[in-house]
């Protein structure tokens, strides 16, 4: 299997022209400073340059390079959510999400590319400052019209492309224009060169303006374009006349290009501004087909806008998007046309319809084959950006009814997809609005959904209360009522109230079976199995579990199947049948991988590893635990890391390495205490008793004390690389840790490599002349005095000194003097 990507950067849509030295320098600066902000007007190429620099920097960041596109967010409080989503970090109970994100970023050196910060500049600045202060290996590259204004930010002003002159007829701007004109199918001969030069100058080397102009070369000559854009300057409408020159140039180019569009193209362009991120043809057809545009025309109109460089698309023409600058311009046109409200209503409505449809396909409809259910889940997840925008509009326009409907039908917001914090956030905002014209059932649904989020955040009391309350108002919707009861069961079991849970599970099974609702029938049976397990009735637990699995197979949803397989694994473990337990856990792994449910997968792999260790299948145990540990770290779950350490402790003891076993257990204990968790320590007590017997009281105490202060990474490394003579840690075969990651992220377990040795102190790299000058510095001579001594100019002396400082990494002459004195005496 191939190495998973350590970045989420998109492929470049076309050739990157020029800026070679800028890219080099920025890569260098990123090594020297923590935060670099590329600033400049819209259309000057900040994002493109940043992406280029980021792509070049991938090898320098073992922790990965992660692009966070902020243009698609409307509110600053979503910045952390989006960051977590990109990094694959999940919320940990009630811990603030930002803290979990920080924990993840502290691991390995990584670079965040925060693109288009300007509209959320305060929020971004806040998050960036916090991250940089607490994650010492983190670099941030931001693009923003305005600087973030935080400590240690280096503001890098992106200039336009170089303009042609007598000495440089092939300046960057000319090269870009010709490249894009060629891509548009126009061949411009030498004769048009003077006009091209004139146009590049008129457009001030602004990349976006040049691209818009080049897209029109099939109709107009460069000279004609230059004249017409020149005319535009005097016609600038949108308050551009007082803007700084560069902004004015860009606006003129955009207005000119827009002015050449057909009436229908203009209508479509402005309507496309409602999309938060990228969109596909179908969505555009659903939302933008309204008088005067027919649904059937949209594909051609969209194609025309792509040809004119106003809309971007991927190579297969599957996903389309607008550049931030163009989207902003289009949104202004939409507002002018007074279409904003209607269109955003329509956007909300269509999103709602789509998500309800996906939800029904994925969960409710009977006899849908699994691939179709999975497709619905993926489609729903892909709408997350637009869904956020639509929910924002629902709140802004007071359309609580529709907002709630959209929210409760979004599997993309369910616990196995996104963070509960986001569910809770949306629900609380919606429920705080005027609910007087919202039907009671819909409010009840919303409360049940909010309860889901709260359960994920470990707010069990409130979750139970809300779920119970919502059941009263739920009305006639057996699916939701059952799903809410299933949630209650989950909470009740966590609270140790098995009797109540049992009753509810029976109710679910009765109702769901009658309704032919396989999802809830299976989940009710699984509830009965869990209740039986807590009561120690293992045979009953097994029977219900098997029934649940059979029912779940008829539904097909991998989430359901995996949960039940894990339940059956736990039952087998309880009766001491480790071989069956392992087989059940193994069954769940590919299912969880298929739906990309990292949290549950990490948990399952940890159980697998522990059971494998108990069965003395050390190879499997090591692989599974290493993968689980890596996933837990990636998703930021400290509890998961602690779980792996316990598994590793079992593994070490099984292999006869009692010392590492104690270390891992001690480190896990510290970690658990740090998250306020005091789980059963029976196993650890037993382990310590055995250790005292074999290693002696003193040695055990010393190991325990050492492990208590050891970082989880270090403790894990002890076990994973300890005394595995027959299987070196580097030979770890590919486990699921190396699986292809569908979301384009993930990393191999980084804990098996050897530590990189500290760099040795630099030896003298100095030339003879530089050594001579260094020696003179120890005598306290000034530049002028050194110059006289060596019969060279003071400027030359200064240059030599600068070279010495660079070679030795010093920042003052005094340091050279000290160094030279030490060298001399050595």
């Amino acid at each position: 299997m191939s190495e998973p990507l350590r970045h989420n950067l998109p492929a470049e849509p076309n050739r990157f022209v020029g800026r070679e030295r800028d890219v080099d320098e920025l890569c260098g600066l990123l090594g020297e400073t923590r935060v670099v902000t590329l600033s400049g007007v819209g259309g000057i190429g900040k994002t493109r340059l940043a992406l280029r620099v980021a792509a070049r920097s991938v090898p320098a960041y073992p922790g990965g390079v992660w692009l966070v596109e902020l243009a698609r967010l409307t509110r600053a409080d979503l910045v952390v959510q989006e960051l977590a989503r990109v990094l694959g970090v999940h919320e940990e109970g009630a811990r603030p999400l930002l803290d979990t994100v920080k924990g993840r970023l502290r691991g390995a050196r990584c670079l965040l590319l925060l693109d288009n910060c300007e509209h959320l500049v305060d929020g971004c600045a806040h998050v960036a400052a916090d991250l940089v202060a607490s994650c010492h290996d983190l670099g941030i590259l931001a693009t923003s019209r305005e600087p973030l204004r935080i400590a240690s930010e280096l503001i890098w002003r992106v200039p336009p492309l170089d303009l042609p002159d007598e000495r440089h007829p092939d300046a960057e701007s000319v090269r870009l224009f010709l490249d894009r004109a060629t891509a548009a199918g126009t061949r411009l001969g030498e004769a048009s060169r003077p006009d091209v030069v004139r146009l590049c100058r008129a457009l001030d080397g602004l990349p976006l303006a040049l691209e818009l102009a080049a897209a029109r070369t099939s109709l107009l000559s460069p000279g004609q374009i230059a004249d017409r854009i020149g005319d535009r300057f005097s016609l600038l409408t949108t308050g551009g006349r007082t803007a700084p020159p560069r902004q004015r140039t860009l606006l003129a180019a955009v207005e000119w290009s827009h002015g050449l569009l057909s009436a229908k193209e203009q209508v479509l362009l402005r309507r496309l501004s409602v999309f938060a991120g990228s969109f596909d043809l179908e969505l555009a057809e659903e939302i933008c087909a309204e008088r005067p545009i027919h649904r059937g025309e949209i594909v051609d109109l969209l194609g025309a806008l792509v040809d004119k460089s106003l809309v971007l698309c991927d190579e297969e023409r599957r996903r389309y998007r607008l550049l931030y600058t163009i989207r902003h311009f289009a949104a202004e046109r939409l507002a002018e046309a007074a279409e904003g409200g209607t269109l955003r209503d329509r956007h909300l409505e269509v999103l709602c319809e789509l998500q309800v449809r996906h939800f029904r396909t994925e969960m409710i409809e009977p006899a849908v084959p699994w691939p179709a259910r999975l497709a619905a889940l993926s489609a729903s997840r892909a709408l997350v950006d637009d869904q956020r925008a639509a929910l924002d509009w629902a709140i802004e326009s007071g359309n609580v009814r529709m907002g709630l409907r959209l929210c409760v039908h979004s599997t993309s917001l369910l616990p196995f997809s996104v963070n509960p914090a986001e569910i809770v956030g949306w629900m609380e905002r919606l429920l705080a609005l005027d609910l007087s014209d919202v039907p009671a059932e819909r409010i009840a649904h919303a409360q049940a959904y909010l309860a889901y989020g709260l359960e994920g955040r470990d707010e069990l009391g409130r979750a139970l209360e809300l779920a119970t309350e919502s059941l009263e108002g739920m009305g006639d919707d057996p699916f939701s009522a059952c799903a809410t009861r299933a949630l209650q069961i989950m909470v009740l079991l966590r609270l140790g109230r098995a009797d109540e849970a049992g009753e509810l599970a029976e109710q679910i099974v009765a109702v769901a079976t009658a309704a032919g609702d396989r999802w809830n029938e299976a989940s009710g049976l699984a509830g009965l199995s869990a209740v039986a397990l807590t009561r120690g009735r293992l045979r009953e637990a097994q029977r219900y579990g098997e029934e649940a699995l059979a029912t779940a197979r008829r539904h097909g949803h991998r989430w359901l199947l995996a949960r039940i397989a894990i339940q059956l694994g736990a039952v087998a473990e309880a009766r001491g049948d480790l071989v069956t337990a392992m087989a059940q856990y193994e069954l769940a792994v590919p299912w969880l991988e298929e739906i990309g449910c990292d949290n549950e997968l990490a948990r399952c792999l940890a159980r697998l590893g522990r059971v494998a260790a108990m069965l003395h299948d050390f190879g499997t145990a090591q692989r599974r635990l290493a993968t689980s540990l890596s996933l837990s770290r990636q998703t930021g779950q400290r509890q998961g890391v602690a779980r792996c350490l316990i598994g590793l402790s079992v593994l070490a003891e099984g292999r006869g390495d009692l010392e590492s076993s104690v270390l891992a257990a001690a480190s896990a204990t510290t970690l658990r205490e740090s998250i306020g968790q005091h789980a059963a320590t029976l196993r650890i007590d037993e382990l310590l008793t055995r250790a005292r017997g074999k290693l002696g009281e003193g040695r055990t105490a010393a190991l325990w004390a050492c492990g208590r202060t050891m970082s989880p990474e270090e403790a894990a490394r002890h076990v994973l690389t300890g005394d595995v003579a027959e299987q070196g840690p580097q030979d770890l075969p590919d486990g699921p840790g190396a699986r292809d990651d569908r979301r384009g992220r993930g990393e191999r377990p980084a804990l098996t490599g050897p530590l990189v040795a500290e760099q040795p102190i630099r030896h003298s790299l100095l030339t003879a002349r530089e050594r001579e000058i260094a020696t003179l510095l120890t005598r306290g001579l000034s530049n002028r005095a050194i110059a006289e001594e060596l019969v060279i100019s003071p400027a030359t002396v200064a240059r030599h000194i600068a070279n010495i400082m660079e070679k030795l990494g010093y920042t003052s002459r005094a340091q050279i003097a000290v160094w030279a004195a030490e060298q001399g005496s050595a």
């Binding site: 923590r34 973030l148 336009p160 000034s782």
Partner: protein, 128 residues
């Protein structure tokens, strides 16, 4: 050198030391031999340090009198094609927006702090 405004003195040793440190800061920001560097500072020790540092870094000094009005500042900055400017003056920073200056380095940025690996930036002082 004596600053006529403040009466503060800059000794030859201080000049050597400060310009050496400043040279390092310029190099770290990518100044290479043959690069034009704008200096827009009032007459005084800082101007001298900046000038020496640019020369030591192998750069070409392009001084701009800070008294010039905005259009002429812009015109000269644009004409220089410089990638870097040394200045603290708000009106110079404003004028640089329409030039090809990528980085603006303040006088404080040029004062190295020997312990730090990171480079000092203009927003260090603007930050919290």
């Amino acid at each position: 050198m004596v600053d006529s405004g403040t009466g503060l003195c800059l000794t030859e040793r201080q000049l050597d030391e400060r310009s050496a440190a400043a040279t390092v800061q310029l190099r770290r920001r990518g100044v290479r031999a043959g690069d034009t560097v704008l200096i827009c500072l009032g007459v005084g020790p800082d101007l001298l340090v900046a000038t020496d540092a640019v020369i030591a870094a192998g750069g070409i000094v392009w001084p701009i009198p800070p008294e010039l009005d905005a259009p002429r500042l812009r015109e000269r900055m644009l004409a220089s094609c410089a990638r870097l400017m040394i200045s603290d003056l708000p009106h110079a920073l404003e004028a640089a927006k329409e030039s090809r200056v990528r980085l603006v380095v303040s006088v404080a940025d040029l004062r190295a702090y020997p312990a730090g690996r990171e480079i000092s930036t203009e927003s260090d002082r603007a930050g919290p």
